[in-house]
């Protein structure tokens, strides 16, 4: 489930999952992305990935700053989705 989510996040940012989820802060993901400009594009990527995977009704996007990593965000989403998945 989270693997699929990560793939959609990366695709929406024009990067590979390895580039997005290698532990770099979201500020560095923004720099690497050929399409994203700012935190709203990151929001679009995570929200869009949730929509792609059909989980958008089940979760709230966590608060994120550019100091967080993409993994932080996905883990926070995973904690919300855990009851749904089980």
């Amino acid at each position: 489930m989270l693997t699929e989510l990560k793939q959609h996040v990366a695709r929406r940012l024009g990067l590979t999952p390895e580039e997005v989820f290698d532990g770099r802060p979201l500020s560095a993901v923004l720099v690497a992305s050929p399409t994203a400009i700012n935190s709203i594009d990151l929001l679009d990527a995570f929200a869009g990935a949730l929509a792609d995977t059909g989980f958008d009704d089940d979760v709230e996007l966590p608060t994120m700053t550019l100091d967080h990593t993409a993994e932080d965000v996905v883990q926070a989403l995973g904690r919300q989705l855990a009851p749904t998945a089980s």
């Binding site: 400009i37 700012n38 709203i40 929001l43 929200a47 009704d57 994120m64 100091d67």
Partner: protein
């Protein structure tokens, strides 16, 4: 004389950029007021602590309009040139928006900056230090133009509601008049930004999602921009100031009370104004944060407004059924 809210309709019916700008100019001239005349011979009589807190914030907030206006003017013309051949209608819209920012928005906001600064000092508050003025002039970052229009419309909503609250609760006639006069300008500015965002979507420059993403970002309960400095997590800004992230609360000098920020009728008015903004710009009815969230997520799958409306209705219906 009213603001032209259907810019694309007017342009499609044969209006030119020049025609639209003449309407803007007439409206501007009709609504102008003089800060010198507003203050002429008047003194503060009963400025309260809440008046001083409101002035401390408003005087600083208004400083940041100039870099935002310059950014919209410069980026609007640049983008208009970039898409001139591929989307002449959208290019016209951008020229109209850029001209309004450069001419009227900046000029009108100058009245606000000067009036609030002047009144703040009359209330015995220290003038804003030059370094702080310079910091608030930091270059506003480039972004998607439709998102910036919605951001600015939301900022104008914050200003409208806050200034209306300050005017209503003040016991001082001059404080009331200054806040009330400026609040009426901010209502017009919000309308202009809504009209530009609507026109940018209708002319195909940007998809609906860019309107919804910014509105969602503004009001989302966990970390939304409207919660400003009270949010747990803050992104450090480099080179510019988002004034709503600098709001003083709790025990700070000149702190604003919760009743002026995120509670009761003030907060409810901010939210309902953002929902009205979304309806005006996209034609999508949202009445709650949950509706807006559904609309935003649906817009990430489709740009079809009818399908987004259906997703909002379906989601609201499912939630109501669950609640029963």
């Amino acid at each position: 004389m009213l603001i032209m809210t259907d810019i694309v309709g007017e342009l499609r019916a044969g209006a030119t950029i020049t025609d639209v700008l003449r309407v803007q100019q007439s409206y501007h001239e009709q609504r102008r007021w003089s800060s010198d005349e507003l203050f002429d011979g008047r003194r503060l009589t009963r400025p309260g602590e809440s008046d001083k807190a409101a002035l401390w914030h408003a005087a600083r907030a208004e400083l940041t309009t100039q870099p935002a206006g310059i950014r919209l003017a410069v980026d609007g013309v640049r983008l208009a040139h970039e898409i001139r051949e591929s989307n002449p209608l959208g290019s016209d819209v951008l020229h109209v928006a850029a001209a309004w920012s450069a001419r009227y928005w900046l000029e009108e906001e100058a009245h606000h900056e000067v009036s609030f600064g002047r009144l703040m000092e009359m209330a015995g508050i220290d003038p804003i230090e030059t370094e702080e003025v310079v910091e608030h002039r930091g270059a506003f970052p480039t972004d998607n133009y439709a998102r910036v229009c919605i951001l600015q419309a939301c900022v104008e909503i914050e200003a409208c509601v806050s200034y209306q609250h300050a005017a209503r609760t003040s016991g001082d006639e001059l404080v009331h008049d200054v806040f009330h006069t400026i609040m009426k300008d901010e209502v017009q500015h919000r309308q202009y930004f809504a009209a530009f965002a609507k026109a940018l979507v209708e002319s195909g420059v940007y998809p609906v999602k860019d309107v919804l993403s910014m509105a969602y970002t503004w009001i989302r309960p966990d970390g939304g921009e409207t919660y400003g400095s009270t949010r747990e997590a803050q992104t450090e800004r480099q080179g510019f100031v988002n004034w709503w992230e600098r709001i003083r609360t709790d025990e700070d000098d000149f702190a604003l009370g919760d009743d002026a920020l995120h509670e009761g009728s003030v907060h409810a008015r901010k939210l309902s104004s953002v929902f009205a903004l979304v309806r005006e710009v996209t034609g999508i009815e949202t009445r709650s944060y949950e509706d807006l969230k559904r609309a935003y997520f649906a817009s990430l799958r489709t740009n079809d407004v009818d399908r987004i409306r259906s997703a909002v209705r379906r989601g609201a219906g499912a939630a109501a059924a669950l609640a029963r």
